[in-house]
Assembly symmetry: C2
């Protein structure tokens, strides 16, 4: 494994890391492809800071080169259950989840990728990794391949490094066509410790997952399909 | 004039407002086209806070509907004379200014437009105004028409409102092909009070412009070509 890695690229890559299952898997994939990961997490007015703590644990465990936590306050604009005081929907069926959910944050990935692009230019990196997924989260417009392609095209016209030919931005989306079960299977192969991650939209103060929001339902189902038990603690049902 | 305005759109528009000459002129243009302006200013680790104060004065004088000052710390990534402790270049010739300047901030317009896009979605607005200019600032990749077009295309794939057909994002760049002299002439027609604006990259603590940085040289030349005196105070030369 180490021998394989040393034969491959050790180019720097910016990896967007939320502290959840998907982005942790993406970080492991970036490492497995030989990139030197620089992780970036956003403190964006989330209702709980547990995600930030999870991101720190994962970044430390996976030995990223650098971990930046950027402060941006998306609450300025209002909207979304993830950033305002709106109830998180519970116990929804898979079909309902295909609609654009109330937990949608306006232009979130566009903002996140823009910060990643700035950092990539400073690092002289051409590679940005993001854990978007068009299967389980088809309701989010900024998780679709056509969006990512348009972003990449724009990014290559945006920076001094790209215009001067020193950078050719590639937005890596290794999870885009995987189901949650497939993502977990891939992460297990790569040794991701999912006990460090948090996916729940509405955890208890002690960090126990609710088990009933969209994120919990998808996550639990993904572990079940792999005949595995999710290692994170859940609130009693 | 009032009659003409009432016949036209009063749709909300997001206007990026830096406190400088260009963005103040853009705000006046958005108003003259009948939009209801919502101004957005960024506190991004600039070396001086005078720009923020200028933006507040202009927003108040031009009676914007709302003025948001968003905090983002671009210093996190390093680089650029505008955000770090690097000397601002002085007394450069026009030809030197055509190169990408040291005052370049990585992915700055990409980040600014992304916040504007988020706010536009919340406001149910399709219109974003930005004072980019491809004539005097040809060195900045994110001021070119091809960049703006690519951004607009991406934006229309990014938001729930666009995907659901309630929004068709248009990035308005009314200054993109104007010289500084033409921008000033247009602003004077529209009654912009340029004494409220600040363009200098390196003003004194009292707010007097240096007269020698790229921004000052372009601005003074623009007023001279209009046979006008720049109303802002300059440091004694």
């Amino acid at each position: 494994m180490n021998r394989e890695k040393s034969d491959r690229s050790t180019a720097p890559a910016v990896v967007l890391l939320s502290g959840g299952l998907d982005s942790s898997t993406v970080l492991a994939i970036a490492k497995s492809e030989g990139f030197t990961p620089h992780a970036m997490t956003f403190r964006y007015g989330q209702r709980h800071q547990l995600e930030i703590e999870a991101a720190k644990r994962i970044a430390a465990r996976m030995e990223v080169k650098q971990h930046i936590i950027a402060d941006i306050d998306l609450r300025t604009f209002g909207g979304s259950a993830l950033t305002a005081e709106i109830a998180v929907p519970k116990d929804r069926e898979a079909k309902q989840m295909q609609e654009i959910p109330i937990t949608y944050v306006p232009a979130r990935n566009t903002i996140f990728l823009s910060f990643a692009l700035a950092w990539a230019e400073v690092l002289e990196s051409s590679d940005i990794f993001i854990g978007v997924n068009a299967v389980d989260y088809s309701g989010y417009p900024d998780c679709r391949p056509e969006y990512i392609e348009a972003y990449e095209r724009m990014a290559n016209l945006a920076t001094k490094a790209a215009v001067e030919g020193r950078q050719k931005i590639k937005i890596h989306t290794p999870l885009i066509n995987l189901t949650k079960a497939e993502i977990i299977a891939r992460g297990m192969e790569l040794g991701v410790d999912y006990s460090l991650t948090i996916s729940c939209y509405d955890p208890s103060a002690a960090g126990e997952a609710c088990g009933r929001c969209d994120a919990c339902l998808l996550r639990r189902s993904g572990f079940q399909q792999n005949q595995l038990k999710d290692p994170v603690p859940y609130q009693p049902m």
